[in-house]
C-alpha cells in the first residue's frame, strides 16, 4: 500500500470528491476487480478471476460482447463473422476455450488452386507460395526465411532487448524489403503479406514490430498459411459464440451499454465511472486497445510515459466484405477462392462459405492504403469497386451476389480499426516497457499486450489471463483468500 500512497497520495484528485475510491456509494457496485471491455480479453480475465473465487465485473460500451469478433445473420439467416474468425493449429488457448464452451470448429476451404492476379495476368497455383516464376518465388522464400531467422532473435517478453533492436526499430518494413527482396515481384508479395497480416502498409510499421509479431506467431508461414497456419479453422456458427458463452457464464457480472469515461484510484481502491453505473474495486483491468485506453480519463492522470505510448499505437485499417451467392461456384472450377492481387480495392480473398456448403460466400479484405482510400468513398462506389474486383478474379457470376455485407472497422467507435494496434518505428524500443506494466491498481489486457499470437484472438485470451493473474497476485498480497474473503491471520 505504501508504494501507492507515496505515488498517488500527493495528487489528491481521486479523494477531492470526498470519498475514497474503494468505498462504494449508494447505488454503486462493489467488486474485487472491475474490467473495462467485454471482448475476448476482458471476458477471459473475468472468467479467470471467477474461477479463482474473486468477484469480477465487466463494463462494456457496446450493446453486445465480443469486441473485434462479431457474428451477425445475413438476410437468409446465415451467420457471418464480421470480425476475427480464424483459428490456427498452434493457437492452443482459443482451441481449448472452444472445446470448454462446446463450440465446434471446421477447416477453412483450401482445396484447389489459388489465383494470383499480377499486372493484368491471371495465374493459378497450388500451395502457400506462388511458384509460377521460380526466381521470384525463391526470392520471396529467401526473404521470408531471413525474416524468420531474425524474428527468433526478438525476445517475446521484451522485444526492445533484441541485440539489433534499435537498428530494426529505426526502419520501416518497407525499408527492409527494398534493401533485401531481390526482385520487384518478391517485394510486392512481401508488401501484400504485411497488408494481409497487419492491415497496414509496409511503410507504416516498424521492422522490429513485424519481427516480434512473426516470432509471437511462430514463423511467417504460420501467419500467412491457411492449412497449417493462422487461417486453418473457423467456428461453426461464428466466433462471437466464444464471447457470448463466456458472458452467459458470468451472468449479471457483465454490464452492456456502459461506456467507461473515468478511472480513479487511490490508496483505498479504484473507482470506474461509466454511463449509468459506477463500480468500486480493489483492481481494474483495462482490456482495450492502447489507443482507446488512452481516451479514458484517469485520476490521477497516468504517467506521461504511459500516455505517450497510447499516443503511438494506431489501429490497422480494414474493411471486411462478404458476398453471398447461391453456391460456392468457384469450387466446381477447382479453385480455393483465395486470391492475391496487385490491383484494385480487394487484393486478398477467401472462401467463407459455412460448413453446410451453402450459400457460397466470397470474403474480401480492403486493407491499408486501399482501406483508407475506399473508406472515404460512398457505399455504392465501394460496392461497385469490390464487385469489379471479384468479377476480375472469378468471372461475371461474382458480380451479382444475392447479398453484399461490409463492415469498416475504422468506423466502429469502440474499435477504431482492426485487426490490432501496430507500432510505427521507434515505439517498441522507446515505449515497449509501458505496454503491460501495471500502474498502481490498473492492469492492461487486450491482444496488443500478448506475447504469443499478438494481434489474434489467442493473444487476447493470453493477455486476459495474464492480467487476471496480476490482479490475483495483488489481491493475495493484500491477504485476500481465493474464496473471496479475508485470509485468516497466520496462526489464528
Amino acid at each position: 500500500m505504501g508504494v501507492f500512497s507515496r505515488r498517488f497520495g500527493a495528487d489528491g484528485a481521486a479523494t477531492q470528491s470526498g470519498a475514497d475510491a474503494r468505498t462504494a456509494r449508494p447505488g454503486e457496485r462493489q467488486v474485487d476487480v472491475v474490467i473495462v471491455g467485454a471482448g475476448l480479453s476482458g471476458l477471459m480475465a473475468a472468467r479467470t478471476l471467477l474461477v479463482a473465487g474473486m468477484e469480477p465485473l465487466v463494463l462494456e460500451a457496446r450493446d453486445r460482447v465480443g469486441g473485434r469478433t462479431w457474428t451477425r445473420p445475413a438476410s437468409d439467416g446465415t451467420l457471418l463473422d464480421l470480425g476475427g474468425q480464424w483459428i490456427g493449429p498452434t493457437q492452443r488457448r482459443v482451441l481449448t476455450l472452444a472445446e470448454e464452451l462446446d463450440v465446434q470448429t471446421f477447416t477453412t476451404w483450401d482445396t484447389g488452386k489459388n489465383i494470383k492476379y499480377h499486372q493484368g495476368e491471371h495465374i493459378t497455383y497450388s500451395g502457400a507460395i506462388p511458384t509460377h516464376n521460380p526466381v521470384t518465388s525463391a526470392d520471396a522464400v529467401e526473404a521470408m526465411l531471413t525474416l524468420n531467422i531474425m524474428a527468433t532473435q526478438v525476445p517475446l517478453d521484451a522485444p526492445w532487448t533484441a541485440p539489433n533492436a534499435l537498428e530494426w526499430d529505426s526502419q520501416t518494413f518497407d525499408t527492409w524489403i527494398r534493401a533485401n527482396a531481390r526482385s520487384d515481384e518478391a517485394r510486392e508479395l512481401m508488401e501484400l503479406v504485411i497488408q494481409a497480416v497487419f492491415s497496414v502498409e509496409a511503410r507504416d510499421v516498424s521492422l522490429l514490430h513485424v519481427l516480434f509479431y512473426i516470432h509471437s506467431a511462430g514463423n511467417l508461414m504460420d501467419l500467412v498459411a491457411v492449412t497449417g497456419g493462422a487461417q486453418e479453422r473457423r467456428i461453426s456458427g461464428g466466433t462471437q459464440q466464444l464471447s457470448d458463452k463466456m458472458a452467459a457464464a458470468l451472468g449479471d457480472r457483465v454490464i452492456l451499454n456502459a461506456p467507461v469515461h473515468t478511472i480513479a484510484q487511490d490508496e483505498h481502491g479504484v473507482r470506474v465511472e461509466a454511463d449509468g453505473v459506477t463500480v468500486s474495486a480493489e483492481r481494474a483491468i483495462i482490456a482495450l486497445p492502447p489507443t482507446l485506453a488512452g481516451r479514458l480519463r484517469y485520476r490521477p492522470a497516468l504517467s506521461g510515459y504511459r500516455d505517450q505510448l497510447t499516443q503511438r499505437v494506431p489501429m490497422g485499417t480494414v474493411i471486411k466484405v462478404q458476398c453471398l451467392y447461391e453456391t460456392p461456384f468457384w469450387r466446381a472450377e477447382g479453385l480455393t477462392g483465395q486470391v492475391t492481387s496487385d490491383t484494385g480495392a480487394v487484393r486478398i480473398t477467401f472462401d467463407n462459405t459455412p460448413v453446410s456448403g451453402s450459400p457460397g460466400i466470397l470474403l474480401g479484405f480492403i486493407e491499408g492504403e486501399e482501406g483508407r482510400r475506399w473508406g472515404r468513398r460512398t457505399p455504392e462506389e465501394r460496392r461497385a469497386e469490390v464487385l469489379d474486383c471479384l468479377a476480375r478474379y472469378f468471372g461475371e457470376r461474382a458480380r451479382v451476389p444475392q447479398e453484399y455485407v461490409e463492415i469498416s472497422w475504422v468506423e466502429e467507435e469502440y474499435s477504431r480499426g482492426c485487426y490490432a494496434g501496430f507500432l510505427p518505428p521507434g515505439v517498441l524500443t522507446a515505449y515497449g516497457e509501458a505496454l503491460r506494466a501495471p500502474i498502481g491498481r490498473l492492469h492492461w489486457a487486450g491482444t496488443e499486450t500478448a506475447t504469443e499470437w499478438n494481434g489474434y484472438m489467442d493473444g487476447a485470451l493470453q493477455a486476459g489471463e495474464r492480467a487476471a493473474q496480476e490482479a490475483l497476485a495483488a489481491l493475495a498480497a493484500l491477504g485476500r483468500s481465493a474464496a473471496g474473503g479475508m485470509a485468516p491471520e497466520r496462526g489464528a
Binding site: D110, S137, V141, E142, I149, T152, N219, V226
Partner: protein, 119 residues
C-alpha cells in the same frame, strides 16, 4: 511405395542439387544440422550432415543424435527428393513429419523449396 534403393537414389540426387544451388549456399552458410531421414513404410533410414551450410554425402543408417528428424512414407519422401511435389503444397504440409528446433525446420523448408524451384 519406393524401395530403399530408389529412396537413396532420389536423396543422392537431391543432395547433389542442393550442393549446386547458389541460393542454398548463400542462405544456409551458417547452418549446422545433423538430419535423420526415416521412411515409415519400408526399412530405409539415412543420415545427412550439413556443416556450415554444405550438404555432405548421404550416409546409410542413422548416426549420432540428430538435430532434425524427417519422417514420411517412402513415396512422399521420394516425391520431395525427386522434386515431383512442391514441398509448400497443402498435401505435403501433412505428409511429412519433422521433429527438431523451429529454426532447423524453417531452414529445411526453405532449402527444400529452393531446390524444388531450381529443378
Amino acid at each position: 511405395m519406393a524401395t530403399k534403393e530408389e529412396l537413396r537414389e532420389a536423396l543422392d540426387d537431391y543432395v547433389t542439387r542442393g550442393q549446386a544451388n547458389e541460393r542454398v549456399r548463400r542462405t544456409m552458410k551458417e547452418w549446422n544440422c545433423l538430419m535423420h531421414i526415416q521412411a515409415t513404410d519400408v526399412d530405409a533410414a539415412f543420415t545427412v550432415d550439413i556443416k556450415g551450410g554444405e550438404l555432405r554425402p548421404v550416409e546409410d543408417g542413422l548416426r549420432d543424435t540428430p538435430d532434425l528428424i524427417v519422417r514420411g512414407s517412402s513415396e512422399d519422401l521420394a516425391n520431395i527428393f525427386w522434386g515431383d511435389e512442391n514441398p509448400a503444397s497443402n498435401y505435403m504440409q501433412g505428409a511429412i513429419q519433422t521433429q527438431g528446433s523451429q529454426e532447423d525446420i524453417m531452414r529445411l523448408d526453405a532449402m527444400a523449396l529452393f531446390i524444388f524451384l531450381d529443378k
